[in-house]
Each structure stands twice: as C-alpha cells, then as structure tokens.
Symmetry: C2
Subunit: 637 residues, 2 copies
C-alpha cells in the first residue's frame, strides 16, 4: 500500500504474512478491542488510552498537564488539581502507568502514574477515566522510580530520580557528596481520596531509576535500581558511568511498618500538597502537609540491602513467581538475574561485602541466579508472558529478545524500529500475565510514518507472542513519549464503566438540577450565573446587568442524562478555555469582562440538529452603570 517507508529496503514480509497480520489487528466497525492499553504521555503529562490489537487511540486522559480540550486545569473545579507546594504547575513529565492490583493481579479499579518533574503521583478512576487524586512527594529531586504498586495496592512507591540537599538548602553543587541525599517514599494508595505519604527512607545520594514491588514469595519487598553510585554532579554521561557495578536496593517494607509501630520514624519538615477531586461534588480541594516521617537505615537494621548489579541498571523486573529479580544493566554485556531465595539466605548468613550509610551490600555471587548472554546491547526493560518466558528490550541494538527463566537461554529475537525503550505485555509485570501481545515502545520514529516535519510522534510496535516466535503485526504512532504502558482485558474495566453522572447525586455547591432554579445573583462585584444546558438551549440565554470589573462565575449544570451527550460552553471575550460538561456534571468558568458590549456564548459540542442555535448573549455595561441584573430565556425570567 503506497510507498515504502524505509529508504530502499523492503522488509521480507510475504503477502501471506501481511494478510494474516491485517486480519489479526483489524477490529471491524462496531466491534470492540480485546484490551485497554494505558500509555504514559511522557512529556505530554497525560495518559493515552489505546485499544489493542487495533492500536486506535480511544482517549487522552488529562492528568498532570492542562488540557484545553476538556477544560482540565482551566475550569474552577480542576484548577486545584494542579497545585503544588510551590504554586500552580501546568505540566509534568508522566512516566509509568500502573494498574491497581488485588493479590498481585491488575484489577481495573484505578491506574496510577508518576510525575517525574514535580514530583507527584496521580490516581485515575477507571469507572470514569478521570484523574481524581494527585499527591506531591517531598524531599525528592524528581520521581522516576514510581509508582510500581504493591501486591494489594497497599502502597505506591517513589524513589528520587536525582539526589538533592535533604532538606533542600543553598549549598555549592560541588558539595554533592557531603550534602545530597536520596529518599525512597511509600504512599498509602488503597483508599481513593486518601493517598498519604506513609514514610520515607533516607538513602545515599545516588540516582534511583526504576523499581518493582515483589510478589508472591517476595511480597513485602520493593526493588529499586540505582545509577550514579559515583555521586557525580556534572557530565554524568561520563562521570556516572565509571563503576562496574551499581546497586539494586531491596527494601523490606513490612519491616518498615514494624519500625514505624516501634516509633522509629523521625518527623521532619517537608511541605507537600494533596489534591483530591470529589466526583459527587465535582470539585477538587487541596491540602498541604508540613511534615513527613523518615526512617534512617543505620537505625533500622534489616530495612534495606544493596544487591551489586552491573552496570548502571535501568529497569528492575520481578518475574510472576516473585523469585527472579532481573537487573537490566544498560551498560552491561549481560542481563543480571538475582534470586529472591538466595537473597534471603545471604542476608541470614550475612554474606556482605561492605556497607554504605548503614545499608549492607550483599555479595553478588551469593544472590545471583544467573545471567542472560544474548549479544544484545543496552538492555532496558523486561516483561513476562506467564509461560516461563521473559522478553527484554535492547535500546542500542534495537530489538526484543525472548529468553527462558531458569535456563537463561535465548529463544527468539525481533528487530524494533527504532531504539526501543520500554515494552509491555498485558499484565506482564504481574503474577498473571495475559501473554498474547507484546508492545514495543520505540524512542526513535524517523521514517516509519508519513513525515510531519522535524517533529514525529513516537512509535509503538505490536507483536503477537502467542506462538514460539514473535510476529510483528502493526506499527502505530503514539502521543508524547510513552515511557511505559499497561494493558488489561477489556471486560475487567468495562463492567464498571460509568455512562453518566446521575443528576440526583450531584452535590456541587453551585449545581442547578432544574430549569426552574436557574438564576443570576450578585454579591458585590461577584456575580454567579446558575445556568443549565439541555438540547438545545442554555437557560438563561440572555443575561444583562454584568459590569466591567465584575468577576462572573458561570456554574453550568448539564441536565442531560443520556450517554455521550456533553454540552460545552464558550464565552466570546473570556480569556480561558471552554467548559466541556458531561451529563449530570457541573463545571465553572470565570470571566472578568474588560469592555462594555454584548457578547455571544454558545455550545461547543455539536449536540443536536439545532446545535448551531444553542447560543445566548451577555450584556456587559460600564463600571457603575445603572443596569440591573436580569436574565431570561425567550423573555421569561
């Protein structure tokens, strides 16, 4: 079909194979995809929801960044969601979507994602696909090794990406080794609306890159990779690549809970925000905490150990049994696999080769289960198919390698176009993978799609892994930069999906549930317009008595109660985004009119054959004018 993307070279996919692949990814009109795939947006700050196997973009869920399309971060209800301890921040760098789990299996209730920059963690409610909660991580310099949930969603975790002065203070950068520290943070996650920093562990000033929680036999532990154990602070591409081995940090969080009970936690000052969106009232609130509980490893023996791992390990991945801990040493020739059982024995036998700040360093040969020598270059991430196989991405050699757990033999390899970062198998980091597909998330796109100027979308590749050999099915472009993805069978999420917000449950303080109650109220220079939408009119649609200098709140309640009947509200002259209000919801737009005149407002979502007629006018008079508040629809107040 049309021209070949790769300059000159045709791939050797015979027509037969192409035909098979076409059938395998085609989802006929009106049929549903098999899986929801949730991809991080990376520098977009959001989550993109794709259907698999079609690769169709079902929705972008705004999380950490303003989204004018939905009014997210612009309307009064969601603005507080983007508050941080240092003010309103309209953007973040969203990395790792992580589905909630029950007994180590994704359960489809929520999906969490970390903000790498601010640093934060968000919860998205999968009954509504809306972001309902965001919490800031104190004492951290970025949040990359996060959220990587525990087996029953007890905690999401957050390891500092970069070390910073702890607590933050003005010191010379070259005092790094003396002043800079890391923090590993555990946040209670099992109650919606109540995320809370449970405790932090003070750790050496390394960079904490990725993490995974244990499962099954290793439940109660979390594993974090480190790099820059050199503690360098400049030209890290050279200076942080000196040591032959860095560490995987093994944290016993059950032990941490014991120490907390014993009162070993130290209260330390730390400003951080918790933002929560209440679905009933359709409003968000922000609260700020001033202190955090910190555990010091030297005072808490058994809390944390270091496993030496060659070299600058990126991903750390735990197999479905919980026994194997795979360190993807990006500058290492081989993959290093640790054994959880051997680790426990080594701890018992105190097989240590040293310690750092009270953290024992285990001997590598005492914990090593094996190594995978694949010939691939630049291993980054590993996932599992639940049938005893592992799949590892190699960034430099641009490929996925399939290998066998326990024997470490290489079974298959498939090229990626180009420079693959993360990969994803539905449930592939859980106790029970649905090992049918694999998605490679590629960092370089170049000539894979029709060019779009210097900037190309990133690119995903879908493989069928149901057979012995991986079969490439489809390339599809992705929004932002998906640093990770998770997928789940559709029915698990669908069965709880909400279609509307029942109007009788709407507890928004400024909701209007009946057209009879619409009104415009003035209190000093604050004017509140209680307005409704239903096909195809606003009520009221003529408003007078607004004056320059007023602060006008439009509280729009969408009275519709059918699925997929949103209404929008746009006010000409307002310096804001629109509202896009779902059935039964109330949202608020603030307008501070600048000049006298008569301004149209209209519905922004084509809602009926008479959508173009869904419109009204607001009259703005000069400050001090003697024009009383007046509102109407077709002459009736």
């Amino acid at each position: 079909m049309a021209a070949c993307g790769n300059s000159g070279e045709k791939k050797d996919s015979g027509m037969m194979n192409t035909g098979d692949a076409a059938q395998k990814v085609y989802v006929a009109p009106g049929e549903y995809d098999e899986f929801y795939a949730f991809m991080s947006g990376g520098f977009s700050g959001q989550i993109s929801v794709y259907g698999l196997p079609s690769g169709r973009l079902l929705k972008v869920v705004p999380v950490f960044s303003q989204d004018a399309e939905k009014g997210y971060g612009y309307n009064e209800e969601t603005k507080p969601m983007l508050n941080t301890s240092y003010g309103f921040v309209p953007w973040d760098d969203a990395h790792h979507p992580e589905l909630s789990q029950t007994d180590g299996v994704p359960d489809g209730r929520w999906i969490f994602i970390n903000g790498n920059n601010t640093p934060r963690i968000a919860r998205v409610d999968l009954t509504t696909f809306e972001t309902t909660e965001i919490i800031e991580i104190p004492n951290s310099g970025g949040n990359h090794s996060s959220p990587f949930i525990t087996e029953n969603s007890e905690y999401v975790v957050a390891g500092t990406r970069f070390s910073v002065p702890f607590p933050q203070k003005d010191v010379p950068i070259d005092s790094y080794k003396e002043n800079f520290k890391g923090a590993l943070t555990y946040i209670k996650a099992d109650e919606p609306g109540n995320m809370d920093v449970s405790f932090q562990i003070l750790v050496p000033g390394y960079d904490y890159d990725l993490a995974h929680s244990g499962k099954g036999k290793s439940h109660g532990w979390t594993f974090f990779t480190t790099y820059n154990t050199e503690e360098s602070h400049t030209l890290k591409e050279v200076n942080a690549s000196q040591n032959d081995k860095d560490f995987i940090a093994a944290v016993n969080w059950k032990k941490a809970e014991e120490y907390l009970k014993q009162g070993k936690g130290k209260k330390m000052p730390a400003n951080y925000m918790h933002n929560y969106y209440d679905e009933e009232t359709h409003t968000a609130t922000s609260t700020e905490k001033k202190e955090v509980t910190v555990l010091i490893p030297s005072e808490c023996p058994g809390l944390i150990y270091y496993l030496p791992t060659p070299k600058s390990p990126h991903g750390v991945d735990v197999d479905p049994t919980g026994e194997y801990i795979v360190g993807n040493g990006k500058l290492s020739a081989d993959l290093t696999v640790h054994s959880f059982d051997k680790m426990l024995t080594a701890i018992e036998n105190e097989e240590f080769e040293g310690e750092v700040d009270g953290i024992p360093i285990l001997k590598l040969d005492a914990v090593s289960a094996g190594t995978v020598s694949s010939g691939g270059l630049g291993p980054l991430h590993t996932e599992f198919d639940g049938k005893g196989n592992a799949y590892t991405t190699f960034f430099i050699s641009s490929e996925v390698v399939k290998w066998k757990l326990g024997t470490w033999e290489v079974l298959d390899r498939a090229p990626c176009y180009y420079s693959v970062g993360h990969l994803m198998i539905p449930g592939g980091d859980s106790k029970s993978p649905w090992g049918k597909y694999l998605v490679a998330l590629n960092k370089i796109t170049k000539d894979r799609y029709l060019p779009t100027g210097p900037e190309m979308n990133h690119s995903a590749q879908l493989y069928d892994i149901s057979g012995d050999k991986m079969e490439l099915l489809l390339d599809f472009p992705t929004i932002g930069e998906p640093h990770y993805a998770q997928a789940i069978p559709a029915d698990i999420v669908m069965k709880n999906s909400k279609k509307i917000y029942p109007i009788e449950e709407n507890k928004h303080p400024h909701a209007v549930k009946n057209e009879k109650d619409v009104r415009v109220e003035r209190d000093g220079n604050v004017v509140r317009v209680y307005i409704t939408s239903i096909r195809s009119h606003f009520n009221p649609d003529n408003i007078e008595g607004i004056k320059v200098g007023d602060k006008v709140y439009f509280h729009l309640t969408n009275l519709e109660q059918d699925w997929d009947t949103p209404h929008g509200l746009s006010i000409m002259g307002a310096r804001n985004a629109e509202l896009l209000v779902m059935p039964g919801q109330t949202e608020t737009l603030v307008w501070e009119p600048q000049k006298p005149g008569v301004y149209p407002f209209y519905c922004t979502d084509f809602c009926s054959a008479l959508h173009q007629e869904m419109q009204g006018y607001i009259r703005v008079s000069p400050k001090g004018a003697n024009v009383p508040i007046k509102w109407s629809l077709d002459g009736e107040e």
Copy 2:
C-alpha cells in the same frame, strides 16, 4: 474479534467482506499511508493529522490552544502566538481546516483553520507542520463560516457566526434588530507572514454559518449560508427556525476589489492582532491594527446577492465545475441546488423578489438548478468525487447519501454510527477531487469503541467510494470534535517536508551555535543562560549564582542536526511546561525561583543510551547572597 460493540445486534458483514476491508486499511509496518488527512480538533483548538487508509494519528499540531506536550503557548517563543486584542487566550474552538490551493486544487503548501470563538484564522506551514501565523477578525461575533479559501489562495474568508453590535457597544439585548450587524471578512492569504484583513462587508444581523468559494466559472465569488434571518436573540432553537427560507449570500469579491480601488471602502475603528512566527529566528511577534476597511452593500451595487434557500441551510458546497451551489437546508426535506449560470442571468435580468439593506434577493425559481429528494433528514454537508457524483450527510437520519449532479437521482446510501456531521473526500471541495475514500465525521460515538467513562472520543468512519456502492472499511476515534477535514495525496506534502532546522540558518537572537559560546549573563535581576544540548549532555550543566528574585531565561539551542533528535528541558521547581526543542532550534523557558536550594534539570525526551544521565543542577541562593555567577560542564567554564 472480541465482543460486539452494539448491544446484541451483529452487523451483516460476512467474513469475506471483513477480510477485504482489513486488507484495504492495513498499512504494513514501515509502509506509508496514501493520504494525509487534516482534521480540526473542534473544542481542542488544534489540528490532528491522520494517515489514510489506516486511520492512525500521526501528529497533533497545536494551533489555537496551549499544548504542554510541545511547550506551545508556554515557551517565550510561542506565547505571543496566542495574543488577542483582549489579552492572552489559551484556547479556541477550531473548525475548518482548509488547504491552500493553486488553480482550485490543493497544493500542500499551507493549511488554514478558523478559530470560532476568538475569532481568528491560523496558517500552518506544511514543510514543518507548525503554526506560523494567526490573525484576529475584528467586528465579528465568532468565526464559523471560515476559512474556505479562494482558488489561488488570494483570500481566506470569515463570516460572523453570531451578529453583534457593530461596532461593539453596551446596548440592551432586545435591541437586536436595531443594533446588531454581521460582517463578512476577506483576509489576504497568499503571502506567509502577511495575512491582513483586506476588507469587510457590513451585512444584516443574521448568523453566517458556512461558506465556500467559487471555482472555475464561479471563481471570484464566495457563497455564505445564513440562518436566524428572523433576527431572534433568545431561544433560537425555536425562534431562529421560523422562516421557511433563509439565504445563501453570494459575494462578488472581484467586484469588491474594484470598489476598493475606487475608494469606496470606509475606514472604521477595529482593534485586532496579527501574530507571526518566524522560522529563521524561531520567535513570534505580535502587531495590533486599529482600523479596518468596510464596504456597505447599499453603496456598492453588484457586490452581494441573497439566494433564498430552504431552510436554515448549514453547509454550502460548490461542485468541481463551479456551476452547482448546494444548499444543505438542515430543516428542509430536500437539498436545494442553485445554478451559477442561472444566477448570473437572474442578476442581469434583475429577477429580484425584494432586498435587505441594499442586498437584492434573487427569486428562488430563477436560480434553482434542481432539488434532491432523498428521504434523508437533516442534511448538513456535501462533497464531490470528481466523477459527477455528490455525497451528502444527513445528521438526523445518520447516513451518507450519494446522488448524481444534474439528474439529482439518489444512487446509494450508507448508514453512519451515529449522527454524522461533516464528511470529507480528499480534494472533495476542490476542482479535482481524489475520489477514492470518504470519511464521515460522526457527532455521537456511544458504543462504537471500548467505553471510556461518560466521555467518549468522537468517531470517524472510512468508506471506499471507488466503486458504485459505498463500502464501509473502518471506524476510528478522533480527538476533540472534527468539524471538518481535508486530505491530500501524501507525496504532494512529503516532497517538501523538512527534517531539521539547519543550525547555520538559526537567527534566534539568543541562539548559541557552538558549545564554546555557552555562558550565563546577569543584567540586574535578569539572568540569561545560553545553554546547548547534544547527546547526551547540556552545556553548561552546573550553574551557580542564581538568586531568589531573579528572572532567569534559559535559551536552549539544540545542536543536533539529525532527523528526530529533539531534546527536552525540564527544570524542577519551575512553574511552567518543559521545552521540546527540534534539531537546530532555540527555545526559551523562564524561571523565577522562589526558594534557595539546588534544583535538578534534565532532558525530557529519551535521546540515547545515556539519556538518564543528561542532567544538571542549578544552585539558587537567597536574595542578596554573595554568590557570583558561575557555570561549568565537568569543572570547565
């Protein structure tokens, strides 16, 4: 594949057909789509670029709304693009993408799109897929019937969506008939960077809904639909649906040019902005104009005529020959087709049935070419396949109807899921349609895809129209609300696509083209960081001497010169989005640090195996501290 979307009912697509469709839409990995499709984002404010026939989203081009993913509207270079005469507006409602034309055929140089709310028109440069120019329309209440370019891109047009006081002033809303007027605006469009309001025509206070320029024999004319000829101002769904006929306004813009030469234009006050992005300097500038030239129909005979058209016509579409002007009367039982030749004759013979404000109303039977009685309900839009056929969408009966130009007979009909608005055939409103595919843009999605809570993406449907009967191939979800789309064969755009910005052509006033020239300069409390990125370090990466109260400009130049090697810049603690800088580009992030400390910054786009190491630190000291400006990479200044 998986569960059926429609509750219970299976569509009767045999396996053979499904197989055919799968093959027809499948674009194998590494191959290119045949067409670029540009879809408006509606309330997202942007343009989405899709590949056809795959339906894959290739890119979102930010136009009228802030886009945190690309830093658009957040970095210093693009912020001025979103200036209006009443301040910075972070959002608009983008409706109709319109490719530039040469001799009535899309030429792939630029794509224009209207902002319905503010009201504005933007130009996107298709060598870079970046928005390079935005102009505001004065004296308009929204801009819906726009941009609908003329045959050689002489003008883009803008008809007021809603009438407003002209000029804007504080009057009672119920003085509508006395005070409210419309304006039809012509904007010079053929020189990039020089869009300019050429003239406006003052017209009665109707709502001007859609438009199309003439072509071939009707070159030199533009046709605008009107509704609300009742001039109602409240409950329009009823009050603007009273008249049996509204009008299509036929404007002779060649005649307008003559009147302008004769000095018939009146200078009137009107504040409006022109924003232009210079690709060489990578910076945008804003200029404001204070007046506009207005033509008054009563003083300019032959400038404009009204063609009576039943009833509340929405789209007005001109066939490839330029002879037929199709009025899609959304409340009419039939489609009304006017003849351009008959219109000229009727004008010559003065076959008028009246006039409004100096605008002659032609007799319907004198201009009518025929009517299409299809039995469909709610016709909205028509496009053409270049083979003598027309395709019309019917919103209420949810279908596309194919009919024959000249005989008006119905040839085929296909159901749409659900409530189709616009439709698009590549080149389908031009002189030379590439009539292979048809895309229906549906307003209601409901159960067509896996549910995503109360809010579902909108939905497009792709049909093969190469045969006698329309064949449905694919459903794919779309971002925002595509109010229209245009498509063009890939090679026309590809051949001019830029891969990088040559560094030697970078004339940004704060560019650094060589690592030797990086530096940090203080001027009072303004600090400028001249910083570069190249795999995999920033230079400098350690910066000291910044103080609370400073305003720090990070001017990042990306020194890379390979395709698809952007770097990002995120500063922890900054209340802003990141920068995402293409090869050879310079972009600027402003930070006003609030608290002393040492803050990491890092690259946000995974650029190499050592991307995680691409990081630096900035030390912030208290106001007044005696810490001199200092910068380094690995100890060297």
